[in-house]
């Protein structure tokens, strides 16, 4: 009596395993290779893929897609545009899925992260608990760094339209549709040098994004400087608290640095590199009371291109005075770009920012990859994504990813505030082309 269960339980487990394995291989052998046609409604290309589809694993009902993005906080200008795109695309995509006879629909769930890494992780975990396995709109590298281990452990796919830190160029569950900051750093250094800056005073956010971009920008500037043989260099930098809301101390210090440099090298040779977000308006408000800070040129980055608070006349004036140019990954030339441009103009009355085009593409390609995978699973969708991208030309043109899942080539638009028709506005005034290492003004 006491021996029977000892034999029976292993036997039962063995039979169960044999059954499972037998069933799996029988299914593989008998399943036909199905041809799946993916008609990309949101893009210009219609392509036929041949993929193996497991029978009976169809998608039905509503599939939730999480858009966790800064609807408030220092990057809310970006979040507002993503929200507008997500709301418009939800209907468009569902119409498309209905038109091609799919039994599933998407439901976009928007959550505000305020660009705060901890809030981002909290929102992601809550949505994961509600069945979300694909996340879009994660804005900053600090947020990606915070959620990285969780998404890797739980096989959740994240497609960021804007995370750029070189430190996150890792093969993982986070895919980034914008080039990393090694490209942007080169562009910024090249642009500043071509603007005549020989002595550079950097000021940057002390977070993953700011540290990464300042490292790559300053490294390239130093290389250009050393190769030139001219009198040039990098002045003392100010790394500020990313949660700072008031900048009187930092700006007083920056004024000391710039004033000394002007006295030594002349104002035409000195420039300020500011790597910040929307708090730039507060920084400019403090800086405009110092004469010397208004005498040198300033350079920004993707954190400041197109942000709304800088259009306030008081700081917009300063921005124009110091020729504050900001780089932003260029969406390239694509017929679909007009769709995004018009959508944002119609809904928000502003110009679409580069990352908005990337976000538009992230939502479309995520849906196409889910459809291609035939199963709502982060890992399966990640595997299907390269096949979709091979044949996809979206609002930001073709998307080529490198081995780490980051966009491989980076051209950068040069954004500046201009005063036209009685009002301040953001305008693209030039482009930096990474392949040719050239800067063109329009």
């Amino acid at each position: 009596m006491s021996i029977a269960p000892k034999i029976a339980y292993p036997l039962m487990i063995l039979l169960l395993l044999i059954g499972l394995l037998g069933g799996y291989f029988a299914g593989q052998a008998t399943a036909p290779a199905a041809t799946k046609t993916v008609t990309v409604a949101g893009v210009e290309v219609t392509k036929t893929f041949t993929v193996t589809v497991s029978p009976g694993v169809g998608l039905t009902g509503e599939i939730p897609i999480g858009v966790i993005t800064p609807l408030s906080g220092p990057l809310s200008s970006f979040g507002a545009q993503y929200k507008a795109v997500a709301e418009a695309l939800e209907k468009e995509i569902n119409d498309y899925l209905a038109a091609i006879g799919r039994a599933w629909r998407i439901r976009v769930i928007l959550e505000d992260t305020a660009a705060d890494p901890k809030t981002c992780l909290d929102k992601l975990m809550v949505l994961h608990g509600r069945g979300v396995k694909v996340f879009l709109g994660v804005e900053t590298s600090s947020e990606i760094a915070e959620i990285k281990s969780y998404i890797d452990a739980n096989k959740l796919l994240v497609i960021s339209p804007s995370s750029t830190s070189p430190a996150l160029a890792i093969k993982d569950m986070a895919v980034r549709y914008t080039p990393n900051d090694i490209y942007q750093g080169k562009a910024i250094a090249k642009i500043m040098w071509s603007r005549g800056v020989r002595w550079l005073a950097p000021m940057w956010r002390g977070d993953a994004w700011g540290d990464g971009l300042s490292d790559s920008s300053l490294k390239t500037f130093r290389e250009i400087c050393e190769a030139s043989g001219e009198s040039c260099g990098i002045l003392e930098g100010i790394r500020y608290d990313p949660n700072a809301k008031e900048f009187s101390v930092e700006i007083a210090k920056l004024n000391d640095i710039v004033s000394r440099a002007i006295a030594s090298y002349g104002k035409d040779k000195v420039g300020v590199l500011l790597l910040a977000f929307e708090e730039t308006a507060a920084i400019f408000s403090a800086a405009k009371t110092y004469t010397n800070l208004g005498e040198v040129v300033w350079q920004g980055s993707d954190g400041t291109a197109g942000v709304t608070p800088l259009l306030d006349p008081v700081v917009a004036d300063f921005s124009i005075k110091v020729e504050f140019y900001s780089t932003l990954a260029s969406p390239g030339v694509s017929p679909k770009a007009d769709v995004v441009r018009n959508l944002i103009r119609e809904k928000l009355g502003t110009e679409a920012m580069g990352y908005t085009y990337f976000f538009y593409d992230s939502l479309w390609t995520a849906v196409l990859a889910i459809d291609l995978a035939g199963v709502y699973d982060g890992e399966a969708v990640l595997k299907a994504l390269p096949y979709v991208l091979d044949h996809y030309i979206g609002a930001s043109g073709p998307i080529i990813l490198d081995e780490n899942g980051d966009r491989a080539i980076g051209d950068y638009d040069l954004w500046a505030i201009t005063f036209k028709d009685g009002k301040y506005q953001w305008e693209v005034i030039g482009i930096y082309k990474s392949l040719t290492d050239t800067l063109e003004y329009y």
């Binding site: 408030s72 929307e278 308006a281 408000s285």
Partner: protein
């Protein structure tokens, strides 16, 4: 914070939301009706004063009557603060969605007036905040020492039972303390809108520094809190500026730590705050020193 604590034994964390509401009242009215934000600071102060009354009658009064302990009183203010914070988020969403005002993150300091002092450009908030501080302290001091109600208030603070026996109604004192506490929070929130960027959690962030100031100075004393606030503020700004000059610009990234370091040192060396120092003797020594010179 000190005013409410010494009257009702309550660490008033609702001040965070009162301050944030003051901040948003100034921002909203400036956006809707234009003009300089200074016009709307008194409105913000009155609104937050009303929030103080709502907090007292809605939460604190009932708990005081049941003789709730300090921890319960403090936790109740934390809970009520979260409720007011929630309403502020609803209000900011309303501004964004209905009025298309960028109320989630904004910079109002660009609306400040710049004064030309012999070629030196100075923002008005620096002077206005200083003058407001002096007026507020002098008014509070005059009220507490010269007016009948103020003297009654101090009596009720010292000994509520005795004050009651002498015909002083402690209820009036509590109401007044909550109203004035809210009023000052709204006033500081309104003025802060011209100094820092705005967002709904602004009160929670700044509250840490306020609390540090009150503890450093001595939470049992209004003048001690003022002294502590000055020390913490100067420590953060002047200290960081000097350290960034002599050590390097990287120190700026650690600026928020400075008020907390000052608070930790003060609590370790002077647990009752700066006000516990023998100021009479110190001033006397200083005075004698002056005579010797």
């Amino acid at each position: 914070m000190s005013l409410v604590y010494i009257t009702t034994r309550t660490y008033n964390f609702v001040l965070a939301s009162m301050l944030a509401w003051g901040f948003y009242i100034v921002f909203t009215l400036t956006h809707l009706y234009g003009g300089t934000p200074y016009y709307y600071v008194p409105v913000a102060a009155l609104f937050s004063g009303l929030l103080g009354l709502i907090t007292y009658f809605g939460v604190n009064r009932r708990l005081l009557k049941t003789k709730a302990n300090e921890t319960t009183l403090m936790m109740s203010t934390l809970g009520f603060d979260l409720i007011l914070y929630g309403f502020l988020n609803v209000f900011s969403d309303y501004l964004v969605n209905v009025h298309k005002i960028p109320a989630k993150f904004f910079v109002l300091e660009t609306k400040d007036i710049t004064i030309d002092l012999g070629g030196l450009q100075v923002r008005a908030i620096g002077l206005v905040a200083l003058i407001t501080l002096v007026i507020a302290v002098m008014t509070l001091n005059t009220f507490l020492t010269k007016t009948r109600l103020g003297i009654a208030m101090r009596a009720a603070i010292e000994n509520p039972e005795l004050a009651g026996a002498l015909g002083i109604n402690p209820e009036v004192v509590y109401v007044l303390a909550w109203f004035v506490g809210g009023l000052l929070a709204g006033l500081s929130g309104g003025l802060l809108s011209l100094l820092t960027v705005g967002y709904t959690a602004v009160g929670m962030t700044i509250m840490v520094i306020f609390f540090a100031g009150a503890l450093v100075g001595g939470i049992y004393s209004i003048f001690g809190s003022l002294l502590g606030g000055l020390l913490v503020g100067l420590g953060e700004y002047v200290g960081v500026y000097l350290m960034s000059t002599y050590i390097g610009g990287w120190i700026s990234a650690y600026r928020p730590v400075f008020p907390l370091i000052i608070m930790a040192i003060a609590l370790l060396t002077l647990p009752e705050g700066l006000i516990s120092l023998p100021w009479g003797k110190l001033l006397k020594v200083w005075k004698i020193g002056g005579v010797k010179k």
